[in-house]
């Protein structure tokens, strides 16, 4: 789980072009949207792409986004629970 969280932070910074933020600056439980990193709706869509690209996980409905993408930790938990078996 720790490795997954560290990987995710790096992928988030890359995917969302957060050039002024270092992966290690993102707290595991820090809110990603609005008050925390201040991400917006387009960033949420990029996170959906990130899940597909790196973890082969397809978020079926954008409505699940707020729950899954609340923090890096909730993302990691979702990935662990939905990891495709053949990977």
């Amino acid at each position: 789980m720790d490795k997954l969280i560290a990987d995710l932070k790096k992928q988030i910074v890359d995917q969302l072009n957060l050039q002024d933020i270092k992966p290690e600056d993102i707290g595991d439980d820090e809110p990603l949207f609005v008050e925390g990193l201040g991400l917006d709706s387009i960033d949420a869509l990029e996170l959906i792409v990130l899940l597909q690209q790196h973890y082969k996980i397809k978020l079926e409905s954008a409505d699940d986004g707020p729950k899954v993408f609340r923090t890096v930790k909730t993302m990691a938990e979702y990935i662990t629970a939905h990891q495709p078996k053949n990977v």
Partner: protein, 207 residues
């Protein structure tokens, strides 16, 4: 007819930023993305959204920030009295092509949002809370006379009190931005808002 002035200008061309005809930044040994990033750092403004923009929006946004520096537009005007009228030749083709590249495997939503030319106007408005009339025209080449007539009409008829107008074009490594700030009140840097003066400022930096 009231007088209208160009109270500020910013031209970005050939890796140089000119403000009111004076060179304010230069970075010759860079590709376009590197140059845009360096010009952003030079402004010393913290605006993380900049990193996410496409090259057209970055270029237009940088030109607008330089143009507005020390002009107190936000302080002197109401949001809906400030408008933006831009034009270019290549629309959003630069972003269109980059988006198409991603469609092959994972289409990128953050690239897709830049596949319209007027998004650069949106970015400038969001940064400065400008809410007045805005328009984006696609021409084969810069048309100073059109800009002069169109913007004069907006300002004379009090649809806008001030307007940012001009040209922002990017395709690959080729680019040019030339923005003009138009107001009714003169200042020491001001010149009359005439086709000739617009063309002089635009062409001066075609080197």
């Amino acid at each position: 007819m009231p007088n209208i002035y160009i109270t500020s200008s910013c031209v970005i061309n050939d890796h140089v930023v000119y403000k009111n005809n004076k060179k304010v930044f230069e970075n010759k040994h860079a590709n376009l993305p590197e140059f845009l990033l360096a010009a952003y750092d030079n402004l010393e403004i913290k605006y993380p959204k900049f990193y996410k923009m496409d090259n057209l929006s970055k270029l237009g946004w940088l030109a607008a920030e330089n143009l507005l520096k020390e002009n107190f537009i936000k302080e002197n005007y109401k949001p809906d009295d400030v408008g933006i009228v831009l034009s270019n030749a290549n629309s959003s083709l630069d972003a269109d092509l980059k988006y198409l590249e991603t469609v092959k495997d994972f289409p990128s939503p953050s690239l897709f949002v830049y596949t319209l030319p007027n998004i650069v106007i949106g970015e400038i408005c969001i940064k400065n809370n400008f809410k007045g009339e805005n328009a984006f025209f696609v021409f084969e080449q810069f048309d100073a006379n059109f800009i002069k007539q169109y913007v004069s009409n907006l300002v004379i008829n009090n649809i806008l009190q001030t307007c940012i107008c001009g040209w922002v074009d990017v395709i690959g490594e080729n680019y040019k931005a030339a923005l003009f700030l138009i107001e009714k009140n003169s200042n020491p840097n001001a010149t009359d808002f005439t086709t000739e003066n617009i063309n002089n400022i635009y062409q001066q930096h075609n080197g």
